[in-house]
Symmetry: C2
Subunit: 227 residues, 2 copies
DNA sequence: ACCTGAACACCGTTCAAGT
DNA sequence: ACCTGAACACCGTTCAAGT
């Protein structure tokens, strides 16, 4: 039995290949695709290498390691968040839409949320352009300049926390039949009925309610002018 | 050289020990302690077992696995969040203090944040009592009953997201000397100056600003009465 | 019931060898 | 410069054997 190459791909000999077989971009995109298709477990260095038809060690010529690779995935997702709405609509509406799309960018890739939420954003990133747009809008809306960055970070914290909530089970908080927490049991049932009527997911309802409250709160602050 | 036991502890023979050497509680508390002392990497099954002077496999008599163990750690931290303030103070103040202590409970154990943020809360947990108190307060303050649970979840999302922000580097967003993002650069500098004056950490400033906005927003909603 | 000890099936990462 | 192939130093988890 002569050695056969799996999946019909010609086996490479040792030594430098005649043409580049890998690139940083290919690796990161494959990482994101495996994350989507297989979940967190299926997107390790070995799995990505296998998908690309190379040895795991080959990846290290293009990425520093698994953590840096995942940071690349996060940036890839971040770049897809649009900011056009800030030029076109009142700041409250634009901010709400931006936050919703921001959360959706992660929500579309559930397996990434847990992985990416805990990663710091890279320093010099394309996301800085997004911050510039949002911060500029806030200041023009009446936000104190020395508070604008904190406002954006607070919103991002809420967005990320809400994305994490999205991967939790819908019935996670269900108190069940216990009768020692009456206020919670009653409110839980009331919410369940309401959600059943509207067909909304619990995590979506919480996100919407929290987002509206934050934006309303910021609006009151901006309107009040400089303290 | 006869085999010596390390650290002066008598080596156990094989077979069931005469008295219990482990308990679920011991294991979870050791997990939290190692998380604090050594960080995420130092709190694996093997490290916890070593710290307790047992073989890794012994842990599986008391916990289902590493994930379930970490869920226990999270519950341990959650139980330490006090709720007395709701009985004593106006709801806005109580809610703000609760949220701050909630975040501090995680902030006191930085290595846990990334690990615990992505874990769903256990279903039947002591935390349900906390939810009961908070939800009851919100409803009495004028919150619609079918929205109260979502309000609490939204707050928790913000709290967790803010805790994650706490483990990011303080200068993470620094745009540096680039001149293509003027609004952001200017606002970033203004914030840096303000923080230098007050000595506040960036993550703390964002948390405070976001928390006040959310609570103000909820207050406006509650005051408006049922829609 | 609850431990030890050995083994299994994985990881990410390093590095010499090869072109 | 950029790949292969082998090795290193880990993981979490399973399970038979032992008391």
């Amino acid at each position: 039995m002569s050695p056969h190459t799996p999946a019909g791909r010609a086996r490479r000999r040792v030594g430098r290949p005649t043409s580049r077989v890998l690139s940083r971009r290919m690796i990161i995109e494959t990482g994101l695709r495996l994350l989507d298709e297989q979940g967190t477990e299926g997107a390790g260095m070995r799995a990505i290498a296998k998908e690309l038809g190379v040895q795991p060690s080959a990846l290290y010529n293009h990425v520093a390691g698994h953590a840096e690779l995942m940071a690349g995935v996060r940036e890839l997702l971040g770049e897809r968040i649009p900011v056009d709405m800030f030029a076109e609509r009142p700041w409250e509406e634009a901010l709400a839409e931006w936050a919703t799309l921001y959360r959706s960018a992660f929500a579309a890739h559930p397996a990434t949320i847990a992985l990416l939420a805990v990663l710091p954003l890279a320093e010099d990133t394309a996301l800085t352009g997004m911050y510039d747009t949002v911060v500029g809008t806030l200041v023009r809306a009446g936000c104190r300049e020395d508070r604008a960055v904190s406002v954006v970070v607070a919103l991002e914290s809420f967005i990320l926390g809400s994305a994490l909530d999205l991967i939790a089970a819908d019935d996670m908080l269900d108190p069940g039949p216990r009768d020692d927490v009456p206020a919670f049991s009653s409110a839980y049932r009331a919410r369940a009925e309401r959600l059943a009527e509207t067909g909304q997911r619990p995590a979506d309802a919480s996100f919407e309610i929290g987002l509206r409250a934050m934006i309303a709160g910021f609006g009151a602050e901006f309107g009040a002018g400089p303290a």
